[in-house]
């Protein structure tokens, strides 16, 4: 068995572990060894995101829209509900109304600023709630597998079978108009897709040996999921959720447009688009403004989602 014995050469030059020279005193070691700080995955992602101009610009735009919406009472030049029957549909650039006035003579700029509050809320809240509910369902379905998976996923498939806009209209139509019901409808519409994405990612992660290794330490299922599964699942779901924000804003606008979301005189981009459409032949530029806001916001969320995906999708 010469070949076998050859494996164990006592003085193998490649084998650094064999010579266990006594460690130098701690103080000397401290100064000699360069401590490796470790490039954390998330700091890598952050660095890649910052070097991507599209994502940076979109992020700044979204941030600006969010800030303006949050501080709307401080920023808006006029009362968004103050109608002026004499100054209706003033064109863009009118003195005192930089973006003109709407069909009731209300200041467009102020209404767009206030409208952003509701539109963003209708975009972000349902996604956030759906992320929590759908994410939980998806992780449970993906990790447990078997009949638990069957039950959850087949139930989701029922909702999945309807076109999302139709389902949103049906639910909020049944519940009645209003911001709360609109958001509830949107949440219910978004849950199945988030559940499905989470389930498929979790199923993949579940198959890796490191999950088995974690189970083999004797850790509880919850602990294995929290420490080892979630860290690998959250990224992809977060990307997906970001892209859903724009979907949610657009569906919310659609609901308002149909009179199912926000009720007048509340300002909301979708509702503004709806009420201004009668004036489209009189002042088309003015009518387009809420649409442009919806377009820019959802585009920015989509592009941010793309940037996030390419920053996080690294073959490690």
């Amino acid at each position: 068995m010469t070949q076998v014995n050859a494996v164990r050469r006592p003085a193998n030059p490649l084998d650094e572990t064999r010579d266990r020279t006594p460690a130098p005193p701690a103080a000397a070691k401290e100064s000699a060894v360069v401590v490796y700080k470790g490039q954390s995955y998330w700091s890598n992602v952050g660095r890649r995101l910052r070097s991507d101009p599209t994502t940076v610009v979109c992020g700044l735009i979204v941030l600006a829209i969010i800030l303006v919406s949050v501080f709307a009472p401080l920023i808006a030049p006029m009362d968004p509900y103050q109608a002026k029957m004499l100054g209706r549909l003033a064109p863009i650039g009118t003195a005192g109304h930089p973006l003109g006035t709407d069909e009731l003579g209300r200041d467009m700029l102020s209404r767009l600023i206030y409208g952003g509050r509701i539109s963003l809320m209708m975009g972000l809240t349902p996604v956030g709630v759906a992320l929590a509910v759908g994410g939980l369902l998806g992780v449970v379905a993906g990790y447990a597998g078997g009949w638990v998976n069957m039950m959850i996923m087949r139930f989701m498939d029922v909702f999945y079978a309807f076109p999302s806009i139709m389902l949103a209209i049906a639910i909020s139509g049944a519940l009645g108009a209003g911001i709360g019901n609109g958001m509830l409808a949107l949440t219910l519409v978004l849950i199945p897709s988030i559940t499905r994405v989470t389930e498929s990612v979790t199923t993949q992660v579940r198959a890796y040996d490191f999950v088995d290794a974690a189970r083999a330490t004797g850790a509880s299922t919850t602990r294995v999921i929290v420490t080892h599964v979630l860290s690998n699942v959250l990224g992809p779901i977060f990307i997906f959720a970001t892209s859903l924000v724009s979907v949610s804003i657009i569906i919310a606008s659609g609901l308002s447009f149909l009179g199912l979301g926000v009720s007048p005189p509340e300002a909301d981009w979708g509702l503004m688009l709806s009420t201004l459409r009668q004036a489209i032949y009189i002042n088309p530029m003015l009518c387009a403004l809420p649409g442009i806001m919806i377009f820019v916001t959802s585009l920015c969320f989509n592009l941010m989602s793309d940037g996030l995906r390419s920053a996080m999708d690294v073959r490690l």
Partner: protein, 361 residues
């Protein structure tokens, strides 16, 4: 008992108490372990057949020894390890660890077993969480068993040192920043973090290149001495198994066909399958190279294994008796320590090459 005190007990066990106890009885006794995987099919996704992955495997592991398990791909080696770690639930079978029956009354829980036995997986990359610094991966196990975070990290750093990686340089790294050999060292450190007495090494060095494989093997030998470990070493590499093992167990289609001291099995293989397996090793001498394959064909499907002896379809000595009666695992050489499941080695079995009844083989 507090959590810390429990860890303390585990820490002390390998040195004194365990060894004195283990000389009397095997560290691990496995009896009639069985796992059938259902094959789903048909309209209602019903189970239409069963893959008999592990079918009545019994063996013992003595404290302080290395038991090598060899066999072709798909013979149930890895499944056996996963069953013993309860990563898969066995359909049947008894596992006794250090005299305590798993799941028995006054026995051992799965969690206790997992503190005493750990596993190293083949794929060094897939078995490390890519989002966790390796130090945290190692510290996870001790934290699960109640060690405070700081102490667990301390232990992780100590283990990194033990496996030959400087904690300052490697502790905060992520798996993708390490080489294959380094990752496998991390996996070994993780397995040792719970201070186990038994470690299952499932093809632990198979994915490494030869020079790194030698390093890791030597590391395993050193660690075994240092921590009084017992290994179950699963591999398809006969040379590596010969080098590291004290005893070797040969599996074929979910069954044990031969088991014995490594020297005895390698020099006097009793089962035709073991002989074929050993002769399939390439010779280092070009003048003695083999041109004929020692075994022809693929192993039969474990869904519907052959009756009687499972190897008979590929065995040159198969006779009528082999299809009718399943050969039991019988001891013959080395005072019964060397056992094989073949009618040719069983006196009076009815095989033409077997000794007549009543005589010793």
């Amino acid at each position: 008992m507090t959590a810390a005190a429990r860890m303390e007990k585990v820490a002390i066990a390998p040195d004194g108490g365990a060894l004195a106890k283990s000389s009397a009885q095997p560290l691990l006794i496995v009896r009639n372990l069985r796992k059938y995987f259902p094959v789903k099919g048909g309209l209602l996704n019903r189970s239409v057949a069963q893959v008999k992955a592990v079918d009545g495997v019994s063996f013992q592991v003595m404290a302080g020894e290395v038991l090598g398990i060899v066999g072709e791909s798909g013979c149930g080696k890895s499944t056996t390890a996963r069953l013993l770690m309860h990563l898969l639930t066995p359909d049947e079978g008894e596992v006794i660890f250090d005299g305590l029956g798993l799941g028995a009354r006054d026995g051992m829980t799965v969690k206790e077993l997992r503190r005493n036995a750990q596993m190293v997986f083949q794929d060094s990359y897939a078995s490390l969480n890519p989002r966790l610094p390796v130090e945290d991966t190692i510290a996870f196990g001790p934290m699960v068993h109640g060690l405070p975070r700081a102490e667990a990290k301390q232990r992780a750093r100590g283990l990194l040192e033990d496996v030959g990686l400087a904690p300052e340089r490697f502790g905060r790294r992520y798996p993708h920043e390490l080489s294959g050999g380094q990752r496998q060292r991390i996996n070994i450190a993780r397995a040792l973090a719970l201070q186990p007495r038994l470690v299952f090494l499932d093809e632990a060095v198979s994915a490494l290149d030869k020079s790194v494989e030698a390093q890791v093997l030597n590391l395993l030998v050193d660690l075994k001495e240092e921590f009084n470990l017992t290994y179950v070493f699963i591999s398809h590499d006969l040379n590596v198994v010969h080098y590291i093992s004290d005893r070797v167990l040969v599996m074929y289609l979910g069954k044990v066909v031969e088991v014995g001291p490594v020297g005895s099995v390698y020099s006097r293989p009793a089962h035709p399958y073991t002989r074929a397996l050993l002769s399939s090793q390439p010779s280092m001498d070009p003048d003695r190279r083999k041109t004929e394959p020692p075994l022809s064909g693929d192993p039969p499907t474990p869904i519907n294994p052959p009756s009687g002896c499972r190897f008979r379809t590929r065995c040159a000595f198969a006779e009528e008796i082999c299809g009718r009666v399943e050969p039991p695992l019988l001891g013959f050489g080395d005072a019964g320590a060397h056992q094989s499941a073949c009618h040719m080695n069983s006196a009076g079995s009815g095989h033409s090459l077997a000794a007549p009844a009543g005589t010793a083989a």
